[in-house]
């Protein structure tokens, strides 16, 4: 999405994901007494929404301070700045939160659900899946149906023309960054609910994989990114599961996403659902 409006890869996205998870840790700590009486679903929702709001604000500030001054400069400058922002957030995180792993609070009660046929899942897995689907539907609605979503799509196709339609491009770019960062925060909280430990570098690998998912699906294409992520996730799990059978350590699964990236860039760089942009001149 951010790539769509600004044409550069926001390397700091994974770090906002990390900040989202840490927001969850601290919000739970600070609001714990106030949330104590509430059902877990409500307190989860409050923590999720607050973290998303905090990270949305952070994303808007990052764009304003780091990327906006470079908007008319060559794209490479912005790309390098994004790497700088990423490192800044990671090491500031180390300074502020400490370098050691911290446990992530149990926001969703531990419970195993068994279905007929022997399928066993945890309640956390179900809640995470439901939340992700809800967020994706919400995102799709914003992008396809709302006035700002339309402006976002128009801006990504032709910023000069969108300005001539009366769109304040800067506002739409801020909105896009805010929205992207809020979703990254939600991702951080949900991820940390499944793998309950957080540390300042936890965003790097998910950030890279999210990027690969976006390339796989066709960069700038939201349903494509979701599809790409699903394919990578399933392939990783299958490789992890079967690699032991052929005598390989399951750690090899971490390489799957990168193999997919290389294959995609070699054979179909536009991605699975990516369109070659048509424009008659």
């Amino acid at each position: 999405m951010v790539y769509g409006v600004l044409r550069f890869i926001n390397f700091a996205h994974g770090d906002v994901f990390m900040l989202g998870a840490f927001s969850g840790v601290y919000l739970n700590k600070w609001l714990g007494p106030a949330l104590a009486g509430l059902p877990w679903g409500v307190s989860l929702l409050i923590i999720l929404v607050l973290s998303m709001a905090i990270c949305a604000a952070l994303g808007i500030v990052i764009e304003f301070l780091a990327y906006r001054p470079l908007r008319s400069r060559p794209r490479l400058n912005v790309l390098i700045t994004a790497i700088g922002v990423s490192l800044l957030i990671e090491y500031s995180g180390q300074l502020i939160f400490g370098a050691t792993q911290q446990p992530f609070p149990q926001l969703i009660p531990a419970e195993n659900l068994t279905f007929t046929g022997g399928l066993a899942v945890t309640k956390t897995q179900v809640i995470v899946l439901v939340t992700v689907v809800a967020l994706l539907i919400g995102l799709r609605f914003v992008v396809m149906k709302s006035r700002l979503g339309l402006a976002m799509r128009a801006l990504s196709l032709n910023p000069t023309a969108s300005a001539l339609m009366g769109v304040n491009n800067s506002v739409v770019i801020s909105f896009t960054f805010g929205l992207g960062s809020a979703l990254a925060a939600a991702g951080g909280i949900l991820y940390a609910s499944l793998y309950p430990s957080v540390e300042p570098f936890m965003g790097i690998l998910p950030g890279l994989k999210a990027f690969i998912a976006a390339v796989l699906g066709g960069i700038g294409n939201i349903p494509g990114a979701a599809l790409g992520a699903l394919i990578i996730g399933i392939t990783e799990t299958l490789v992890g599961g079967y690699s032991q059978a052929v005598g390989l350590p399951s750690g090899y699964k971490e390489g799957v996403a990168f193999v997919i990236l290389i294959l995609m860039l070699l054979f179909k760089p536009s991605g699975l659902l990516g369109k070659i942009e048509r424009e008659k001149v």
């Binding site: 799509r153 023309a161 001539l164």
Partner: protein, 235 residues
């Protein structure tokens, strides 16, 4: 209604406009003609705020709009159909029109104006759900004009509406331009390569050459001017 005084523009170190002054009175069609690279598009882009001036001023409706942001200028009813059409290729015809009405809040006005555009260009109605990038060049031009009309313009700038379009369609589009000027009381600033047609529909014209106004006058006089005939009318 619109007045440029001594406007200077440069791209980096290359000067594009060397002090242009021109006036467009309310309700008129004024044309800007000139060879390639004369600075016609730059003049329109400067009025829209896409390009910043180095000097001079632009006044519109009594207010100074020099170097305002493009979206603020559109908000005053100054709409620009840019060179090369710039329709949003992956958006549908309908979504392109909705983008045109981005600043409009009055739903009833939007639907009646959409109807006006569809009646003017019935092809667009037939292709309402089609991606704009799949339209023919002429259809894209219709869409670009229609989209600008949805911005509730009081002042419309058209940059080479005839570019890459079959002669028959060019005539039709020019008839529409005159019709819009009459029906909607629009003031129009028209940039054209096709000087013959442009001077036919307009009441006043400016001839630009390398960033300067070379000649100006009532369109009929320009058309009769031997210098203009030799250089721009292929006579």
């Amino acid at each position: 209604m619109l007045e440029l005084s001594d406007v200077t523009v440069a791209y980096g170190s290359i000067a594009a406009l060397h002090g242009i002054s021109l006036r467009v009175p309310e309700g008129k069609i004024v044309t800007l003609i000139g060879a390639n690279g004369a600075g016609k598009s730059t003049t329109l882009r400067t009025i829209s705020g896409l390009v910043k001036t180095r000097g001079g001023s632009i006044r519109y409706d009594g207010a100074d709009i020099t170097n305002r942001a493009p979206h603020a200028i559109v908000g005053r009813g100054l709409c620009h159909v840019p060179e090369g059409r710039m329709v949003f290729a992956n958006l549908t015809v309908q979504e392109n029109l909705r983008m045109g009405a981005y600043l409009q809040r009055d739903k009833a006005w939007i639907s009646s104006q959409t109807e006006y555009v569809f009646n003017m260009f019935p092809r667009l109605r037939e292709r309402e759900k089609q991606a704009a990038g799949t339209l023919s060049g002429g259809e894209q031009q219709m869409l670009a004009i229609g989209r600008a009309l949805l911005g509730r313009p009081k002042f419309l700038m058209l940059d080479e509406p005839s570019l890459g379009i079959a002669p028959l369609l060019v005539k039709a589009i020019f008839e529409k331009i005159v019709e819009i000027n009459r029906d909607q009381g629009l003031t129009i600033l028209l940039v054209e390569q096709n000087a013959n047609l442009a001077l036919d529909v307009s009441s006043y014209g400016y001839v630009l050459e390398t960033g300067k106004v070379l000649l100006e006058g009532p369109s009929a006089e320009l058309k009769a001017n031997p210098e203009v005939q030799a250089a721009y009318l292929g006579a």
